[in-house]
Amino acid sequence: MLLGLGITFVAFVLTELLPGDPAAANLGQRAIGDPAAVQAFREHYGLDKPLPVQYAVYLQHLVHGDLGESEQSHRPVLTDLREYVPATAELAVTSIIIAFALGIALGILAAVRRNKFTDQLLRVVSLSGISMPTFWLALVAIYVFFFKLGWVPGSERLDPGTFAPPHVTGLYTVDALLSGQTDVFTNAVQHLILPAFVLAAYNIGLLTRFTRSAVLEVINNDYIQAARAKGLPERTVVLRHVLRAALPPIITVGGLAFANVMTGTVLVEKIFAWPGIGNYAFLSATTLDLPAIMGVSLFVAIVYIVVNFVVDVLYGVIDPRVRVG
């Protein structure tokens, strides 16, 4: 709570203190020369009032769910967010799922084959994953898989001419399934694959490394040997006993992974013309659209808080020793 307030405060102060006139950024060359237009702009957005007043006004609006109006789109920021969040959510969630599934699997593989060739290879692969410029990977991926091979589409959420399914959640995949439009569903999935994988690359590398070390911490514990002594097949021992015990530190990475995804969406959405928050954040930052910046920052902060909360809850689910009572 305090952190959230702090964030709004900092964002506000930052955007105010930084040199650069939002009016100039938003009105364009011609309008700047016209004092009346500038004045109208300022009045509309309350930029002519003293700073603390502006902040108080903002907070007041916030409490009422009013995030202000975007200088750029001339719509309430809340509306903007509502439109763009589902797109990013769909991408982010898909990406996280891919990253965790692949990362954990590879991490286990590397741990079980410790110091053998597979392990060394995976070490290089995972280091490459975290060294790759996301935007470059996106470019190469589009070139190879779309341009040359034609396996998947290279941009946007649906083929031009395909209409979005009836809006329930805003997630095209879910909505398409809900209304039984399997062809739309397939199309949406096709469009998701490439950007989701590109976005996941860094996290796959990260998770492989974390999983490997978590598994190695656990694998020599007595209870693992006891499980083997019971005659259980190695697969069961690894997947049920070892993985379970190694999960807590891996879950911790979940928060970090989300942060990476947030960062990555800015680049990925731009390249894939994905109409999401990342794109919106970029536009608002470059045009100094203050309400929009504040809105995005606030949204991201809330997502962090929620994710951290979920991680804490998951801890309790996985490790009974952590539960209260």
Binding site: N221, D222, Y223, Q225, A226, A227, R228, A229, K230, G231, L232, P233, E234, T236, R240, H241, R244, A245, I318, D319, P320, R321
Partner: protein
């Protein structure tokens, strides 16, 4: 009066040698060990840490660390255990031969429920349904005297005391009705007051189930209370064996005598000094030539440093690896 009488042999270990890889090459942690366990009897292996007792039994279940080299033979019910392939080994583990480890704090999985840990191998080995396994699990908990078994099933190891955890571990080990139970220092991590209860439990269960038990411990007091037959190991070799009562009352090997003498006597006067065996046990990499104990032995002769003493029967079911044999009463 030998053991060859009525009781058939369940486990026969001959010339067991185990070499482990270390930073400075292979080290021989078990160097030619022989022993037998019969049906329904409690067989004790005594020795300090590093004597190779744990490794010997781990070899039986194929649980040695990677890179270990094993020689010799270990026949369980006619089946050769050493070198047994995966699927066959898994059939033996838990179902025929089960193990209870030393520290119940670490040998039970902290994140899996008691029920899960009691039933997973039962379902795997015996193919029973979840419901049946659960009923059996509750029954097992009752047998090991865990109060309120039904709710204990839903609990987790950290919610139980050390003694109770070890009882749960014993229940887990016995869940598939194995014929042989290996208990590696089962009471060492427990309070003295709790030890007796666990030992009584083990004794009762093995009588009821006709179970054979291999009891590993360095605690001679525990050994005397539960084991019928005893083998004393030192530095990877057997130095003496026989009926526990005999060996402990009339030890023939200087090491055994030293161990016994080191025990504080409850009725000795308060100022009696504790008598330790001089020196320290050798590391497997630096085992003395000849008899491994000779540097610490009060009765050592020149020949002791050159030839490894053979384990020879000396009557009454006893064997001894000491040509000097200085302690004949």
């Amino acid at each position: 009066m030998g053991r060859s009488a009525v009781n058939p042999t369940l486990l026969e270990v001959r010339k067991l040698r185990i070499h482990l890889p270390t930073a400075s090459g292979m080290s021989t942690v078990v160097d030619g060990v022989d022993f037998e366990v019969r049906r329904g009897e409690v067989f004790g292996i005594a020795g300090e840490s590093g004597s190779g007792k744990t490794m010997s039994v781990l070899a039986l279940l194929g649980l040695l660390p990677d890179g270990a080299v094993v020689e010799g033979s270990a026949k369980y019910d006619g089946i050769e255990l050493l070198g047994l392939k995966g699927p066959s080994m898994r059939e033996i583990r838990g179902a025929e031969i089960a193990m209870v480890f030393q520290d119940p704090m670490t040998s039970l999985h902290p994140m899996l429920s008691v029920e899960r840990q009691l039933t997973e191998h039962v379902r795997y080995h015996l193919g029973v349904s979840a419901r049946q396994a659960r009923i059996r699990a509750a029954q097992l908990l009752r047998e090991v005297r865990i109060p309120d078994p039904e709710s204990a099933l839903g609990g987790y190891p950290h919610q139980f005391s050390g003694g109770m955890r070890q009882r749960i571990a014993i229940a887990i080990a016995l869940a598939c009705n194995p014929k042989l139970l290996i208990a590696d220092e089962p009471t060492t991590a427990l309070d003295v007051t709790v030890q007796a209860g666990v030992l009584r439990l083990l004794d009762r269960l093995r009588v009821e189930a006709g179970l054979s038990v291999v009891m590993i411990t360095h605690d001679l007091g525990v050994m005397s209370s539960i084991a019928e037959w005893l083998t004393v190991m030192y530095a990877g070799r057997v130095v003496e064996s026989g009926r526990t009562a005999d060996v402990l009352a009339r030890p023939r090997h200087p090491y055994t005598a030293g161990l016994l003498a080191a025990l504080p006597h409850p009725e000795a006067p308060a100022e009696t000094a504790l008598r330790a065996i001089k020196g320290a046990p050798p590391s497997p990499l630096a085992r003395p030539a000849g008899c491994a104990f000779h540097p610490r032995c009060d009765y050592a002769r020149p020949s002791c440093s050159t030839s490894v003493p053979a384990l020879v029967p000396i009557g009454e079911g006893r064997t001894l690896a000491c040509p000097v044999d200085p302690l004949i009463a």
